[in-house]
Symmetry: C2
Subunit: 214 residues, 2 copies
DNA sequence: TTTGTTATTATACGGTTGAATAATTACGAG
DNA sequence: CTCGTAATTATTCAACCGTATAATAACAAA
């Protein structure tokens, strides 16, 4: 009976590894499959270590949820911060980034869905959702204001807000269904649908460089 | 030690009661809280009875999922089958029904979210989702074809399909966020946003009787 | 009223869960 | 090189999970 050998790791790397292992477990077998033992095995440690870095398993899940959401928003915001010249192009890339990998990805959807099911049950998760949703929407609204101004239209806050809600709805819905049953949309690529929908919602402002209208 | 008294019930009633109790448990405490003991207690029976009516707990969950989804689609389809004259009015009511109670409702969202998190893990649930999504989308496409024809536009299948995907996306996204954090939208009623969005996507076809554009 | 069927309850089982505690071992400070 | 600290492992615990099986009681048929 030899004791298991181990090596020490910095607090930050351990926490990150444990969260990564948690997300792996959730994406593969859902929240139900994310047990402390499974997570520990995946991270290459023993179960007890989890409660040394997190006050409880629930606390670790909250941290994991926060990381998933910030990862998604930062990915699409980065896509809109490239070297594009016009606001139209930035909005275009922002929308497309939402509906193409790595954001539109089965693993991300699994994680998102698992946590969403907890939002209505646990207030702590509701707060995390609220924060991430508002961060996403405000980034989108800012982008929309620039697009409107660029097109010579007065970017009234109320109009930007409503446009943001609507376009966010399109993105959310397409991302959800497209990633859930992607094979249904091979004949109708979702990025194109999203761009044309946003253009329609914007009252005809053209976003795409090349738009072969269907 | 007195034995618990009981009365017999018809097979259909019992199954329905058990499924109802299952949904109650899920909506209140998520899938994790929907244990056979909790469900049985809620239904006023003992746990063993569940496996007398369902081959397994998982089987009962599948039946419950199917009931939730058919309940939602039938509710909105019924809203579009009233005594409205024009197709425009029917589409209008269809969209509004999606974003107002009892469809836009916290309990329904809790149930939907809990099951969605299972769709990516269990193929049986994926199949149920696929069926219900296609049923919903085809109902919407049919409605859209009538609206286009009524407006004198040729209802090409490809256009109806793309419109259906896009409008379904708007509905899904708004339903999701609106029900998750409804208090964020008190100043921006979602049914109005959805209608105006659909009108924009339809290229200007007017759906509402009275549309005070924001 | 008696009997047979089966819906329902009661009980038990093996396995798993998150958490708590105690025993070790790696590593830095001195 | 030694020692103290704390990161990590090992073990244990009570509670709970879904399921299987046997005992019981309600109701229908005769």
């Amino acid at each position: 009976m030899s004791r298991r050998p181990f090596h020490r790791a910095g607090e930050d790397v351990r926490r990150h590894d444990l969260i990564a292992a948690t997300l792996d477990c959730i994406s593969e077998s859902g929240l139900q499959g994310a047990t402390v033992r499974q997570i520990a095995a995946r991270a290459g440690v023993t179960p007890g270590l989890i409660r040394h870095y997190f006050s409880s398993k629930d606390q670790m899940l909250q941290d994991a949820y926060r990381e998933v959401m910030t990862g998604m928003t930062s990915a699409v915001v980065a896509a809109a911060d490239g070297d594009q010249q016009s606001a139209r192009e930035r909005l275009h890339d922002f929308i497309v980034a939402n509906l193409t990998p790595p954001v539109a990805d089965g693993r991300r959807l699994s994680l998102w869905a698992a946590f969403i099911s907890h939002v209505r049950v646990d207030p702590a998760f509701a707060e995390i959702h609220r924060e991430s949703y508002l961060a996403f929407r405000s980034a989108l609204e800012e982008l929309l204001a620039e697009v409107l101004a660029e097109a010579g239209e007065e970017p009234a806050p109320q109009r930007c807000r409503e446009l943001g809600i609507a376009i966010n709805g399109v993105i959310d819905g397409l991302w959800l269904e497209g990633t859930l049953v992607g094979d249904l949309f091979t004949d109708n690529p979702l990025p194109g649908i999203a761009i044309r929908s946003a253009e329609a919602l914007l009252g005809g402002i053209v976003l795409a460089q090349d738009t072969p209208s269907s």
